[in-house]
Amino acid sequence: MRTVAAPARSADRGTSGALRLGVIGCGERGEGCCKAIALTTNSRLAMVMDANAARCQDLAQRFGAPWTVDLAEVLASDGVDAVVISTPHHLHAEQAVRAAEAGKHVIVEKPIATSLEDAVGAVHAARRAGVHLSVNLSYRYYPHVQKAKSLIEAGVLGDLLGVSFVYQRDRSADYWAGQTGRPTTDWRMRRERSGGGVLINMAIHYLDLLRYLPGRDIVEVSCVHANLENPGDVEDNAALWVRYENGAVGTVSACSSARGSDFEEFHLWGRDGCLSLAPPHQFYSLRVVDGKRPGQWHEFSGAPGVGPRDVEYFQRFAAHILRGDPPEVTAEDGLAAQAIVEAAYRSAQSGRAMQVERGPWRPVES
């Protein structure tokens, strides 16, 4: 293990009793995770690791943490309670299995793996080892998403009838080729390494919200997708319809090549009302919710006391682990989101609607 001198804005804030996190992968997401961990009050950065020593050293210096280029060193360290896996998608599953077997709690950046089968394997490894595995589906912790969730739980929608979601980004070719971030790598545009394009890479957060917000599982998916502008072999445009367990239906449009676009719109409607997560966020209900008069549209702001999404995610994760509880975002949540993506890919390939695999999840016998 190599150490660097702690800079003035060190992460060592006298956090005795804090959860000690090791970050594996020092690319863009790794850097984001380090920043978020530094802002939590109940966890601290215990070590960073990346195969590229320069990148690793840079982060270590900025956040005042030891660094290494050897994963085994992180996993063997007694000073690390949990690891954050923020490497390219194709490395997630194997690293998660190794971390779990080393007795570390695991946070995996979404998706858990490039395939559902590998993801289930990683989750089972964690179960066998008696450690917790969580997936960084941190979009749940946007303040307005938290507020929407509390409104839905208070009955703003009633029984869910439908959802509609549009995601549009203007990702340049450089993004896919890895020219825009700290590392220069093209793994995002290679299916065997990323598992897919806009769906598994970006929209998976929102596919998770499609489940999380109404509190209902998706059971069937139909999808068409295309690679129209992506320089690699992954999709950059996808259209899905989904069916919920209660019969509600929804549509999803995800695109990473929409010129000048950087927005998402989420609409949910039920027997008793509608909720719109498109600025200005608003709801209409026939019920008295949040003290608001029914029969009118009401704008709502984010839930109070909710911090930036990544900080909130790590803060809550650490709080649960330190209490000995399972994390809020469970491995099953990650598997469910991955199962929707996988069903969408299978549907696009076969031209037919596909059933979404649902738990209990069992690993494939080798």
């Binding site: 027997r271 026939l286 008295v288 029969g295 009118q296 549209w297």
Partner: protein, 423 residues
């Protein structure tokens, strides 16, 4: 004398022309104020607002504003503020605590079923209870007196004091709110001339049907047989009181022929219940049409009616004199006071008035199981229940700003078939 002139539809008078012009002008103003609203839907509310002011001016009274439930068109329900003239001598202003929902009737009007053709906007409800807030000069009532009356769902009502029934202290306002429904059921029982030991059948298990079973038991009818199409709305009290419960879906219509009841109450609210009622009746028996059996039917077997010499008795309370109504209300309260009527167990919903649309939509759904429901006006803030307003206070048109209404010609003249704008 009215001068006939040429109007756009070719058959008008000067007055009609003026009305048409004023209507258009008001419509234009409304559209400027609320672009999305259909002027023909807004106008009735504006006219009510104007009418309250005209009445107040003529009577030299002030105005109060209360919250009401309004049905602007079939399938839509709003809670909207409406103005009333403050009470004149002989009138009282009642601050409503609870209003009773008559599910069958209100469902029919909400959905505009063939047996219910109201004009819109329609103000549902006809039975409520509360406390006197203001009594007109020389009134026998004092502020704070507990009363029940017949009026639409609203947080306040201004009525002639002769139409108000004092509620005994032993009776809760929630129970008292069902006074009109109680009078309807009592009227049916009186028309039936029930005698102790007489077999009695009640068709339909809505609120009136449930009341009839309980009133039949209080009169000593025996056995009491309750008939319902489905088992969705079987109340606990019904199972306790009736000796036999027939579910037509389960037991089949054949079960009706064996009943031979002396008195059969038709309480389904639909004339389609009449054939079943005739089958239950014995020779020389009576079928009592309890409440409002609205609409027409081609199902009735008049051969059976003639063969059995059945008497059909209409028992709507329209035929009751005011004194009879008061007497029936007293009997109703007497029965409540002595626990001969159990209403509390029939109330399955206590609705916040703001949630009226949610409630009516649910009431209109085919799998609804509501028997008894009340609107709880005490859940509103005092300012929303009743407050003084000036003549200049504009009408409450808030719902029009928040809900897009179907634009269809309710109450408008339809184009003649094959007609065109050029004709």
């Amino acid at each position: 004398m009215l001068v006939r002139v040429s109007t756009p539809d070719g058959s008008g008078t000067v007055v009609r022309l003026i009305i048409e012009r004023v209507r258009r002008l008001l419509g234009w103003v409304v559209q400027r104020l609320i672009p999305d609203a259909d002027p023909s839907a807004v106008l009735p509310f504006v006219l009510r607002w104007a009418k309250a002011r005209a009445k107040a001016l003529m009577r030299r009274r002030g105005l109060v504003r209360a919250t009401m439930v309004a049905c602007p068109q079939p399938g839509r329900i709003w809670t909207i503020e409406q103005d009333f003239t403050r009470p004149s001598p002989g009138e009282v202003l009642v601050q409503v605590e609870v209003s009773a929902v008559s599910p069958g009737t209100e469902r029919a009007f909400f959905k505009r079923l063939p047996n219910a053709r109201p004009t819109y906007p329609y103000f549902p409800g006809y039975s409520l209870a509360g406390q006197v807030a203001v009594a007109g000069r020389g009134s026998r009532f004092r502020p704070g007196d507990r009363v029940a009356l017949a009026a639409p769902h609203a947080s306040a009502a201004v009525v002639r004091e002769s139409l108000v029934y004092p509620v005994p202290p032993e009776v809760s306002l929630e129970e008292a709110a069902f006074v009109q429904l109680g009078i309807i059921a009592l009227q049916a029982v009186q028309k039936a001339q029930l005698r102790p030991g007489a077999p009695m059948v009640v068709l339909g298990q809505g609120l009136i049907g449930q009341f009839l079973v309980q009133l039949g038991a209080a009169h000593g009818a025996y056995p009491i047989i309750s008939i319902s199409r489905t088992s969705r709305r079987l109340a606990e009290s019904l199972l306790r009181t009736a000796q036999q419960v027939i579910i037509l879906e389960r037991d089949g219509h054949g079960a009706l022929d064996r009943l031979n009841a002396e008195v059969v109450f038709e309480a389904t609210g639909s004339p389609d219940g009449l054939p079943a009622a005739l089958r239950c009746t014995r020779m020389g028996g009576r079928v009592i049409l309890a409440g409002s059996t609205r609409g027409t039917t081609q199902q009735a077997d008049f051969g059976l009616l003639a063969d059995k010499a059945v008497t059909i008795v209409g028992a709507h309370i329209n035929s009751l004199s005011h004194a009879d109504m008061v007497a029936q209300a007293q009997i109703f309260f007497h029965l409540l006071r002595h626990r001969r009527l159990d209403i509390a167990s029939l109330i399955s919903e206590r609705v916040h008035p703001w949630e009226a649309e949610w409630f009516y939509r649910r009431l209109a759904s085919k799998d609804d199981t509501t028997i008894g429901a009340v609107m709880c006006w005490d859940r509103l803030h005092q300012q929303q229940r009743v407050r003084r307003v000036s003549f200049l206070t504009p009408p409450d048109l808030t719902p029009f700003r928040h809900a897009r209404m179907a634009r269809w010609p309710l109450g408008r003249r339809l184009q003649p078939e094959g007609g065109s704008a050029q004709r």
